[in-house]
Symmetry: none
Subunit: 377 residues, 2 copies
């Protein structure tokens, strides 16, 4: 049996998160990074800028996890209390670090005198090693004590990400015996989550020893995710089996997307350039086509027409994809009309979709691309 | 002294969140809602789809808070374990609810037979009241027991938001003695966060007794937020003062948006309908204009042109707004070119914007609307 993955807890510290004023994108970014590295993230906790709350959270997290990562609360102001909270949890005392203080004064030299409040950022507990912050005033901390590692990172996303990549990842790789996670994804469109699960006939419950399976309903369809920390080749069997059981509903695996697959199918039919005309979608189809990178088909552009307005001449292209998202019925269901004209013709087709708001608009766009994929793929 | 605000803990349940596979936008939305209602959010916890973990989290949260709100894990599949986890924490048993089962069968009647796995969504513990879900198969729960309320909401954002607004908010207002937070927002565009703070000359640090102040950089500009649980009229002074100090950079307050203000200015100039042509933006401008509700100007539609392609005839309208987002320079800055022709003419203007990715595209669109607002407002 291989060693278990190290267990991590993430603390996002900041009252503004709990007021709903900012989205905690740091947690989502670090969660993805930890998964990739082979660290098992057990929980994320968002908490307020309160010294006692922060100290208690560090205490609980250190007892439960091998690795505790905290973002936020390292600024110079009175409500930046992450340093104090961790010092309390460790039973250590904050003292000024001469080197950090000099580094801070150097940073500020270009702007004028350093506000005294910034001196708080040069405080350190004895067991903490400082992590340099080349693009901000808040240094991070690396604390390795009592069989658990605590990492403090700034809350500003750009500073956090750079310190994470340059300072933390190499230390984690040196400290823990990491076994990165291998992941394969199977992507379907046009079939619901429970119908997919049913068609897979128990594969999600028993994907194989050492393999975990997940099913996710996304705007671009239901995705299956198989992962293992052992041999990547072990994932071929559940991926192949899913493809066989789900048949034509599968449009791709891993990095493949609905636009990439649909555009590849059109290129194989000799379409060199594509334009689009849509209504009812707030431009969801043209936004997706404009962002499809590395496509073999040139996207000339798209037109969004408001209801009741005349369709104008759109950008010139070999083929034009038309999409109309009709209003929702009383059950919240919608239908989309898809057709294509030009060099490659697709007769008008009507498809039912679910969802509301921007999700419904994006699903309409993906339904159009799925129609192309099924017709020409 | 007024009564203390009820204390809440939010649980976001889903292994996919901890794997970084999806962004937990539900927590941010609910955090903002709770702040507005006058509920003090103490913590957000994201946890995996594991029955024992979920049960422990509900146990701890119920002991610490007056209100526990959980999103996610109400689907039909084997890894949707929120119902089971809460039942364990409450020491109650899940049993089929006849009414919920009939409701589910009615939902599925239109599509064909209901997968048996969906029957799990009709399970309920005795102390739970079901909350109807008009746009999805997962009902919510309202559990009022032992001086704490637990609310279960689906993880699909559209379903969660509708159930929250229609079912949960009225129940919370009836159950708790809430003192809603009064919030006023002042919105600026075209000036940076630190420049705004400097121009306000200490107002953010001392907005007045019982008033809190915040400053947030967003895609549609830097926003100031003043809040109080006391008399709403107390907020007039800091709002007026901000408007005076920031002058023409302020485009509106509260519910006013850049599109609403820009379109109102065009309507005042006699523009009845508007079309748009843009490039480099993946359609950010047309998406924003298409979603501008209740505008006095009809939006006829928009065109996205890929670089190097010929501008076609767009939808017909009284005025056409043109936007070109130029590529980023080596410092990550971008410039946008804005002009308008038709009945209302705006000579070509160039503006510098910051940011990258979709944020940069949205900022370009807002810069175009701000240009219209400044020219005609």
């Amino acid at each position: 049996m291989p060693d278990a993955a190290p267990r991590a807890i993430l603390l996002s510290i900041g009252t503004e998160i709990l007021l709903g004023e900012i989205l905690d994108s740091n947690a989502a970014h670090l969660a993805g990074e930890l998964a990739r590295l082979g660290v098992e993230l057990r929980a994320v906790r968002q908490l307020a800028d309160e010294r006692a709350t922060i100290a208690a959270a560090f205490g609980e997290a250190r007892a439960a996890a091998d690795l505790v990562i905290a973002t936020g609360g390292l600024g110079p102001t009175h409500d930046d209390l992450t340093r104090e909270g961790l010092a309390d949890a460790l039973g250590e005392t904050l003292t000024p670090d001469q080197g950090l203080e000099e580094e801070l004064r150097r940073r500020f030299a270009a702007y004028g005198p350093m506000p005294t409040s910034n001196l708080r950022q040069a405080l350190r507990v004895p067991s903490a090693k400082a992590l340099p912050n080349p693009i901000g005033s808040a240094p991070g901390w690396w604390v390795d004590r009592d069989r658990s590692v605590v990492v403090l990172l700034p809350g500003v996303p750009a500073e956090m990400r750079r310190m994470w990549t340059e300072q933390v990842v190499p230390r984690l790789e040196a400290h823990f015996a990491l076994r990165p996670l291998h992941v394969r994804t199977v992507k379907t469109f046009g079939v619901g989550e429970s119908a997919v699960a049913e068609a897979l006939d128990g594969l999600l419950d028993a994907p194989g020893d050492g393999i975990s399976a997940g099913i996710y309903a996304r705007d671009d369809g239901v995705h299956l995710r198989f992962a293992t920390r052992e041999d990547a080749a072990m994932l071929d069997r559940p991926v192949d089996q899913s493809q066989q059981l789900l048949g034509e509903h599968v449009y791709g695996t891993d990095e493949e997307t609905l636009p990439s697959v649909a555009l590849r199918a059109l290129a194989a039919r000799g379409v060199g350039s594509l334009a689009s005309v849509e209504s009812g979608t707030a431009g969801a189809l043209l936004a997706i086509l404009a962002e499809a990178n590395g496509s073999p088909v040139t996207y000339a552009g798209g037109v969004l027409i408001a209801d009741g307005h005349v369709v104008p001449a759109g950008p010139r292209a070999d083929a034009v994809l038309h999409l109309v998202l009709l209003p929702q019925d009383p059950h919240g269901r919608s239908r989309v009309q898809v057709s294509m004209d030009g060099a490659t013709v697709l007769p008008p087709t009507e498809i039912r979709i679910h969802g509301s708001g921007p999700q419904r608009q994006r699903r309409a766009a993906f339904a159009a691309l799925d129609t192309v994929r099924r017709a020409f793929g």
